[in-house]
């Protein structure tokens, strides 16, 4: 373990309406074993003692699974480490004297609440548009009644691993939510349980996604590159297929 000193340039914005700006702070003696969020905790403790409003940021599990944390660090969503959420990014990846620029995830569809805190409720609405199977509680068939090859299952699980953090949107030059949407569509398209609504699902979710103000996909692969769960853009190709199939063979209303 060693300790480093850092200069932080952080986006400060008191509320949704206010204009924000970048403020510069310094933190000293940050253990390289600490996580990025713990480094921000140290900053916030210091700011509080100085009587300054601490930096607001979202976080919860600090284990890389809840998808609550996230910020753009030196231009990269969740920072420089591959397949790592901000809370799992450790300070050993920075050097003494580094300047780190920290900004919120930005997108038209993700308004800023305060500092690094954003509103990602658009993601919920995309799921509400069709990211489920229409089964009620109770009366479901025995879990082993349909066999699913482990290969197919693993593919579905790869897609299901999405934590809904929004890094894909934040890093996409068009602010597209295709990776997020495609992950859910893929999971359900790959499983026998998801077949009943299959033809309507992709259309409904894409329509909602477009309506929320997310951009279109230009296949830049930025989303895949920053995704903390390594969700592949092959899911986007699958979404495109599902969408096409739905449009041309689905019910027309």
């Amino acid at each position: 373990m060693s300790e480093i000193n850092l200069t932080l340039k952080i986006w400060r914005q008191p509320n949704a309406e206010a204009e924000g700006k970048v403020e510069t702070y310094s933190v000293e003696n940050i253990s390289t074993d600490s996580s990025f969020l713990e480094m921000l905790d140290v900053l916030n403790e210091k700011l509080t003692h100085e009587g300054v409003d601490p930096v607001a940021f979202d976080h919860d599990c600090r284990e890389g699974i809840c998808g609550m944390c996230g910020a753009v660090v030196n231009g990269v969503a969740h920072g420089p480490e591959k397949e790592t959420t901000l809370c799992q990014l450790h300070m050993r990846h920075f050097k003494n004297g580094d300047t780190i620029v920290i900004e919120p995830f930005r997108s038209r569809a993700f308004p800023i609440y305060k500092d690094l805190m954003i509103d990602r409720s658009a993601f919920d609405r995309i799921i509400q548009a069709g990211g489920y199977t229409n089964v009620n509680t109770g009366g479901t068939p025995d879990a082993n009644s349909v066999r699913i090859s482990s290969q197919q299952l693993e593919l579905a699980m790869d897609a299901a691993a999405c934590i809904g953090c929004g890094a894909c949107v934040a890093s996409c030059p068009n602010g597209s939510a295709m990776l997020f949407t495609s992950a859910k569509v893929s999971q359900l398209a790959l499983l026998p349980q998801g077949q009943v609504e299959r033809k309507e699902r992709a259309q409904a979710m894409v329509q909602c996604m477009d309506g929320e103000g997310f951009g279109h996909c230009t296949n830049t692969k930025e989303c895949e590159a920053v995704c903390p769960k390594g969700i592949s853009i092959s899911n986007i190709a699958r979404l495109n297929r599902e969408f096409l199939k739905g449009i041309f063979t689905g019910r027309d209303d």
Binding site: P54, H90, M117, R120, D124, G131, N144
Partner: protein, 642 residues
């Protein structure tokens, strides 16, 4: 306080059927006239909201996070139990029931646990139908693993992300109901109070975390699925927002709090690395299937693990418990690790860690087999600690993980306040003094998907409801109380920050006191010491805590301060409960109550009961009530893992 368990008549295996048959129902057409508030969108709350809305009730659902999908349940790794017996290895509902009761060291209610085992199978069917990708065998049937030393393979899992996948299943069912307009979802709301009208819970007071507004919400009944209170120790494996506020508010309004001293301390967590540490990370228990736990025999050893020869290593679990070895239950493994470290044999920079070594397993099975089994855990460990467990042994240390205690509920999952229900980790019901691995997810979903609906119908069907809305005096006075309390929290903020402390500083102080004196091993002297110290911490908090900003907008320091204030109040009943329970049982080890071989010694003659704490007003001592436990179908035995 009257503690009627309301366990239905009949033989054990018929009780749940009898209950459902004899309970009142609500006609489907009438259900939409009833409104239900559910606080929490974890496995318990999320599943309950979806299920009750499907049945036609009007549901209002609340959570702290920005979306229901991020509740703390998401972090569960290992798996979920069910008595499917898919592996044909002798499992049955009765065996799951028996293991759970025994694992809980005979401190839970038989009827509740049996019901849990009964509905466990339906949970798996339900989740699969929702598209939860449980692991499958090559042939396409569901895979199982043996977990936490169970003798059968009954644990279903989705890689190391079972909690996530189950929660996303519940979340998708909930999303469907939100879309259908049957659930109104309130995210980023923190429940601050329960509102009781004419002796019944009729609503809640919440704070909108974004706008700072205090809101009142009325309904016909209130269900709490607000999770556990592990964060009273500051450092735990729980998510940062996990809190006891909702439960404590209910407690102060008259709900009994059961067995608060039962706190599970998980043996395989990544050790603490410094003062700035904010939380502890769990490493799945499955690691103990192949890893060997050891410490150096020599105290204050400075050599690296690889340089310590075999005969100078102390494989203390294997030596002490030859038949279970490294797979002894969590409490036993944790306690022994602590003992070794207390004796000075601990490793790592702080001396508060033991080795979990895979060298032998790698030699036996080959590196790729071991990596395939544990690769993602190893990578997680390496990300945090920067050490590759394939090359060097892991270092682990116990950490606070799960709380078996919670709001007291009867067989109806109702607290001592009529109309206030508690489900999931928030109640005390099924795990006794110790929870088995993979059983919390099972309980959360059992309560949420299958049990609560029957209980709610029964309650609604047997009572008449006067119309109550948010203008009722009880709501107004609750709002005033909440607002006053927030103002009180901010009172030190005028006059600058000099000489004041931050919320976290006090939370850490509280956590350390609790860990040192009410942690893995407890004794009278230490507990009394903690009880003496607590008022000082409370005083310091109210006199010194500095919270920048106002109550009127986003203020994360204020949110945390409110929670810490409740943790401080709550810590008192944890300590009192630990003190009152003079026996050792499950996770609660009283040093005074041990066998000659230093094993936990239960005292059924005096403590075969649920301890339920009753609030008696600010500044006055809480009252202890007792629900005796009787066992008709199993015979309590002393646990032995030798």
């Amino acid at each position: 306080m009257e503690l009627k368990s309301n366990v239905p008549e009949g033989p054990l295996e018929k009780k749940w059927d009898n209950y459902r048959f004899s309970s009142k129902l609500v006609n489907p057409a009438n259900r939409r006239k009833f409104s239900i508030i559910i606080v929490g969108t974890g496995l318990a709350g999320g599943a309950a909201a979806a299920t009750l809305a499907e049945q036609g009730y009007q549901v209002k659902s609340f959570c702290i996070q920005d979306t229901p999908r991020r509740a703390h349940s998401i972090a569960a790794q290992g798996g979920i139990n069910a008595a499917k017996n898919y592996q044909n290895d002798g499992d049955s509902i009765f065996r799951l029931f028996y293991d759970t009761i025994k694992g809980g060291d005979f401190r839970s209610r038989e009827a509740n646990v049996y019901r849990l085992a009964q509905v466990s199978n339906e949970i798996i069917d339900q989740c699969v139908a929702q598209g939860v990708p449980f692991a499958r065998e090559y042939g396409g049937t569901l895979a199982n693993r043996s977990f936490g030393g169970a003798q059968v393979s009954r644990t279903f899992y989705a890689r190391g992300q079972t909690g996530q996948q189950l929660l996303l299943g519940a979340y998708s069912a909930l999303s469907r109901q939100i879309k259908a307009g049957r659930v109104t979802m309130y995210t980023r709301r923190e429940m601050m109070d329960v509102v009781v009208v004419d002796g019944r819970a009729r609503g809640i007071t919440v704070r909108n975390i974004i706008t700072g507004e205090i809101e009142s919400h009325a309904a016909d009944l209130v269900i709490l699925g607000t999770g556990g209170y592990g964060n009273v120790y500051f450092l735990s494996t729980n998510a940062m927002a996990s809190n006891v506020t909702a439960a404590v508010r209910a407690y102060k309004k008259g709900a009994g709090f059961a067995n608060p001293c039962y706190v599970q301390i998980h043996p395989t967590c990544i050790p603490v690395h410094g003062d700035f540490q904010s939380k502890l990370t769990l490493m799945s228990e499955s690691l103990r299937n192949d890893g060997r736990v050891w410490v150096p025999k020599k105290k204050g050893e400075t050599r690296k693990a690889a340089d310590i020869p075999e005969n100078e290593r102390d494989y203390y679990l294997e030596n002490k418990y030859p038949s279970f070895g490294n797979l002894v239950p969590r409490d036993v493994a944790s306690r022994n690790a602590k003992e070794k470290c207390d004796e000075g044999q601990g490793v790592g920079p702080t001396g508060l860690a033991v080795y979990l070594d895979f060298a032998e397993a790698i030699q036996r099975d080959g590196a790729d087999v071991i990596f395939r089994k544990y690769g993602n855990l190893f990578q997680m460990y390496q990300k945090i600690v920067n050490v590759d467990p394939m090359k060097e042994p892991m270092m682990i240390y116990p950490a606070v993980h799960y709380t078996m205690g919670g709001l007291w509920v009867d067989y109806n999952l109702m607290t001592t306040i009529p109309g206030l229900f508690a489900i999931g980790e928030c109640n005390f019901s099924d795990h006794g003094a110790n929870r088995l691995g993979a059983s919390a997810l099972m309980q959360g979903l059992a309560d949420g998907y299958f049990v609560i609906a029957a209980c709610v119908a029964n309650y609604l069907g047997t009572n008449k409801f006067a119309k109550v809305d948010e203008t009722n005096e009880a709501f107004l006075s609750s709002r005033r109380e909440v607002e006053d309390r927030l103002q009180k929290l901010l009172k030190n903020s005028t006059g600058g920050s000099a000489g004041k402390c931050t919320v976290d500083e006090i939370h850490k102080e509280l956590g350390k006191l609790m860990w040192d004196y009410c942690g893995m091993a407890r004794n009278k002297e230490g507990l009394e010491h903690a009880l003496k110290e607590l008022p000082g911490i409370r005083q310091k908090f109210w006199d010194k805590v500095y919270i920048p900003g106002s109550t009127k907008d986003i203020n994360q320091s204020l949110e945390r301060a409110g929670r810490v204030a409740d943790f401080i109040d709550f810590a008192e009943i944890v300590v009192r409960d630990a003190l009152a329970r003079g026996e050792s049982c499950g996770c609660h080890l009283r040093e005074e109550s041990q066998t000659e071989e230093n094993e936990a010694l239960r005292d059924d003659a005096n403590y075969s009961h649920v301890a339920v704490w009753e609030y008696t007003g600010e500044g006055s001592e809480p009252k202890l009530n007792i629900e005796p436990l009787t066992f008709e179908n199993v015979t309590p035995s002393q646990r032995s893992y030798k």
